[in-house]
Structure formats: structure tokens, C-alpha cells
């Protein structure tokens, strides 16, 4: 549906990125899929490691385990700090090499600003 506010803006529909689309970056699109898969597996691996550490913490502190604690609880601050550190190391160790060609594998993690 067009509306009057779009007067003079018809051209925007042809701009790259106007729709989300499915960009492919490699000649062989399998490479695109493989990179997505490998990242997704990393995230799921981390989910399991996080869950296991949380589980161990609960069990070592009070022999009683409730599923709700695991699903919606949070680990202690101390464990959270350790997990944050471990997660960063895991990302760096597994994926840093993607950029070794120009030395990006040794870059230190940083935020946007």
C-alpha cells in the first residue's frame, strides 16, 4: 500500500536492502551455509556448556535440583563472571583463525563504541 507521504520516494523500493532478501557471499553457496551452521553449532555448544556449569553449581551447593532453576534461574555472580570469560576465550579459540590472513586472529574483543 502506498500512501501520500511517499511522494517522490518511489525510488526507495529499488534500493539494495529495501527487502531483507538472502544475500550469498561465496561463489559456492554451500560455503555460506557451512559458515552459518558452524556459528550456530558454536552457539548451541555454548548453551550446553552454560547449562552444565549451572547444573554443577546447583548440585554442589544443595543436592536438590529443580528443572525451573535450570530453565529460568541464573547462576551465581561468581560463576557468571567465569562463564563470561570462558565464552570469550571459546569464541576466540574457535573462530579467531578466520581472520588470521591479516592478523585479525590476535585482535582483542571490544564493544562498538
Amino acid at each position: 500500500m502506498t500512501n501520500k507521504k511517499n511522494n517522490g520516494l518511489e525510488y526507495v523500493k529499488d534500493l539494495p536492502g529495501y527487502d531483507r532478501g538472502y544475500p550469498i557471499y561465496f561463489e559456492n553457496e554451500l560455503v555460506d551455509h557451512l559458515i552459518s551452521i558452524v556459528l550456530e553449532l558454536g552457539a548451541e555448544l555454548w548453551v550446553v556448556k552454560d547449562r552444565l556449569a549451572h547444573l554443577e553449581e546447583i548440585l554442589s551447593e544443595n543436592n536438590k535440583l529443580s528443572l525451573a532453576d535450570l530453565q529460568t534461574g541464573k547462576p551465581s555472580e561468581l560463576l557468571q563472571e567465569k562463564l563470561d570469560e570462558e565464552r570469550q576465550q571459546l569464541v576466540k579459540r574457535i573462530y579467531g583463525r578466520l581472520y588470521s590472513k591479516y592478523g585479525g586472529d590476535v585482535a582483542e574483543s571490544e564493544g562498538a563504541l
Binding site: 500500500m1 502506498t2 500512501n3 501520500k4 507521504k5 511517499n6 517522490g8 520516494l9 526507495v12 534500493l15 539494495p16 536492502g17 529495501y18 527487502d19 531483507r20 532478501g21 544475500p23 557471499y25 561465496f26 560455503v31 555460506d32 559458515i35 552459518s36 556459528l39 550456530e40 558454536g42 552457539a43 548451541e44 555454548w46 548453551v47 552454560d50 547449562r51 549451572h54 535450570l70 530453565q71 529460568t72 534461574g73 541464573k74 563470561d84 565464552r87 570469550q88 569464541v91 576466540k92 573462530y95 579467531g96 578466520l98 581472520y99 590472513k101 591479516y102 592478523g103 585479525g104 585482535a107 582483542e108 574483543s109 571490544e110 564493544g111 562498538a112 563504541l113
Partner: protein, 363 residues
């Protein structure tokens, strides 16, 4: 009336917004945030140097004219490391939004109820119209956010959480917004009784400004009803008195000469350039003589070499930022100047976000 606190039953993230619905989702998104920090943000400088060296070794022009740009893009996107960088960026971006969307959808009713409840409480207020005719160009899934700002009722929650991931933690507790707001321009005479933020989204900038000018009447406008509803909930929860209203920034429903300070944070790169011009003209109109307008956004045109341009342009296709290519080629300072603002000199190389400050002339 109070806001249903069950939305915070897992606590608050980044000090402000509801945590995701499960530990699993939190761990997943935490992984993506780290991956973005290492594989995107931390690479920006070295990959920039690498790309520039590829261009120079191939004897390419570093100028920003369309021909040089097209040549640069062609050359750079043949390189397997750069392909990997952009593939990784796209994949991470898709994954984290999907996780955040699904996670908040698990408690959709509670979150919508909280937005309804918030309408009945202060401080501050919110007004919007479910039948408001929103301009089509704003209905894009900008930065791949599912449903964009205007087509998803939970957009506010989703955007705020996404911003945390995007900024790699540097926006936690509104730190980034507080930093920006503290550098916004102000009238020389120090008189500040009314302030306005354009494209306010979740309201981080206007909240920080209101805390700097506690006696001023504060307004945040955004084209999206979902965003102003959320912004009001967020401000009311923090006990900050702000009026939020659904409005197009290019068609402000405010009187001439009625504000002392106007700001816009990260709005301009999401506007077609012809709209950006109208917004600048509207800011000039609603400011009183001596009033100050600050645009915080990425660098534009004349400040970049061809790689800087390429980097911005890739965001269009990869990240649904259709207006960035136009934006990076436009010259925001010049438009402000031409529209009638007196421009304050600034250092364009300072940081990822630049504040352009203009004053409305006294006569």
C-alpha cells in the same frame, strides 16, 4: 495502577529492560554478543587496514566517486576473508534477532499488558493512534530487526535488547546515551525549558537529557507506536518525566520557536536523504532563536575514503539499511548549514558517532 512485575521475574538486563525468558536464550545471545565483539567490532580496524592495502596494491583510487566505489566493491568482494567477514556478520545478525523475538514472544501477553498498564501511570505520558498513517519508507526491517520498528508490537523490547548486543555492552545502563547526551549542544544563554528528541526509539537519549535538564519539559517522538509505548514504560519505570508521542520527524506537530534543544540520535542514517532535509528544516522551525540542534550519527560524505564508503554501503544489503548508501554520500553538515543553522566546529574523526551541532540564528 502499577506495571505487572512478572515481566521482570528473571530480573533486568543491562540495568533496564526485562531479561529474556530463559537461561538458554540468555546464554545463546551472550555467545552471539561475544562473537560480534571479536569477529566484527574488534576486526574493524585491522580489516580496514587490510582492505585499504588490497585497494592500494591493486592501484585503485581511494576517492569516493561512484566509479571508484564500484571498482573498490568489486575488488574487495573477491577476497575470501572479506566474504567471510560479511557472511559471519549476516549470520550472527539473523540468529540473535530470531532468538530475542522468540524469547519475548514466550511472554507476549505479559509484555503487552505491561505496555497497556504503563499508559495509565506517570510520570510522563504517551500518545499514539492505532490508525496513524505511517510512511512506507519507515516500515523496513532495519538492521534485520524482525517486523522492523513499526510492524511488531513488541518492537521496543526487542530493539532495546538488540541494541545491547549490537553495541557489545557499551550501551548497558544507557552508558552510551548518557555519554552522547552530555555532549549535545545547548543554547549559549543557558535557558533550557523545553527539549525534544527525534526518532527517540526506546528513549535512551531523551532520558539522559532529561536527567541533565531536570526542570525542562521533555518530549520524545517516534513514528512507531510500539516504540513510544515502550519508551514510556521504560521512562516511567525509571521515574523520569517525559512525554512520548507518535509523530513523523519530517512533520512535527509542534509550534514554531517552541524548543530550546532538539536532538536526533542514530535517526539520520535510517532516513532517505530527501526526508533528512525535511527533518532538519523542521528542527530549525521548532527551535527558538539561539536554540541548539545536535545530530548524532555515523560520519557522512566528505569525511571518508572509498573504504569507509564501501563499509557503509555493505550495510545496506547485508543488514537492511537501505538508506545508508545515500546517507554516507550526503553531507549532513552542509545540509544543516544550507537550511540556516550556524554550525559549531567539531572533529569528525572522533569516534564512530559524530555529533553535529547547529544553532538557530538569533535573527
Amino acid at each position: 495502577m502499577t506495571i505487572n512485575q512478572t515481566i521482570y521475574e528473571r530480573g533486568k538486563t543491562a540495568g533496564i529492560f526485562p531479561s529474556l525468558s530463559s537461561r538458554r536464550d540468555e546464554a545463546y545471545v551472550g555467545f552471539i554478543e561475544d562473537a560480534r565483539n571479536l569477529l566484527m567490532h574488534a576486526q574493524q580496524k585491522p580489516i580496514g587496514e587490510y582492505s585499504r592495502s588490497l585497494l592500494q596494491d591493486a592501484g585503485k583510487s581511494m576517492e569516493t566517486d561512484p566509479k571508484s566505489s564500484a571498482e573498490a566493491q568489486e575488488l574487495l568482494m573477491k577476497d575470501s576473508v572479506l566474504k567471510t567477514y560479511y557472511r559471519v556478520k549476516r549470520s550472527l545478525q539473523e540468529s540473535f534477532w530470531e532468538c530475542i523475538l522468540n524469547s519475548f514472544n514466550m511472554k507476549k501477553n505479559e509484555l503487552l499488558q505491561a505496555l497497556d498498564d504503563a499508559e495509565k501511570i506517570g510520570p510522563g505520558s504517551v500518545s499514539y493512534d492505532p490508525d496513524y498513517a505511517v510512511a512506507d519508507y519507515t516500515k523496513r526491517e532495519i538492521h534485520l530487526q524482525p517486523g522492523g520498528y513499526v510492524n511488531e508490537p513488541l518492537a521496543g523490547f526487542i530493539y532495546d535488547y538488540g541494541l545491547k548486543v549490537f553495541m557489545g555492552g557499551s550501551a548497558d545502563n544507557d552508558a552510551a546515551h548518557k555519554g552522547l547526551a552530555s555532549t549535545a549542544g545547548a543554547p549559549k544563554d543557558g535557558q533550557v525549558s523545553r527539549i525534544l528528541d527525534l526518532g527517540c526509539s526506546a528513549g535512551g537519549t531523551i532520558t539522559a537529557l532529561k536527567n541533565i535538564y531536570p526542570d525542562a519539559e521533555a518530549w520524545g517522538i517516534d513514528v512507531s507506536a510500539a516504540m513510544v509505548r515502550y519508551a514510556h514504560l521504560r521512562a516511567a519505570e525509571q521515574n523520569v518525566d517525559i512525554h512520548f508521542k507518535q509523530m513523523h520527524a519530517e512533520e512535527l506537530d509542534f509550534e514554531d520557536n517552541s524548543f530550546d534543544i532538539v536532538t536526533a540520535t542514530l535517526l539520520f542514517h535510517e532516513l532517505p536523504v530527501s526526508m533528512a532535509k525535511k527533518v532538519i528544516a523542521e528542527a530549525l522551525r521548532v527551535l527558538r532563536p539561539g536554540g541548539s540542534f545536535t545530530i548524532f550519527d555515523f560520519p557522512s560524505a566528505n569525511k571518508q575514503d572509498v573504504y569507509g564508503m564501501f563499509f557503509g554501503e555493505m550495510d545496506a544489503l547485508d543488514n537492511v539499511e537501505p538508506y545508508i548508501p545515500e546517507y554516507v554520500r550526503s553531507n549532513v553538515e552542509e545540509v544543516m548549514d544550507d537550511t540556516g543553522f550556524e554550525m559549531f566546529p567539531y572533529d569528525p574523526s572522533k569516534g564512530l558517532l559524530i555529533g553535529r551541532i547547529g544553532t538557530k540564528p538569533e535573527n
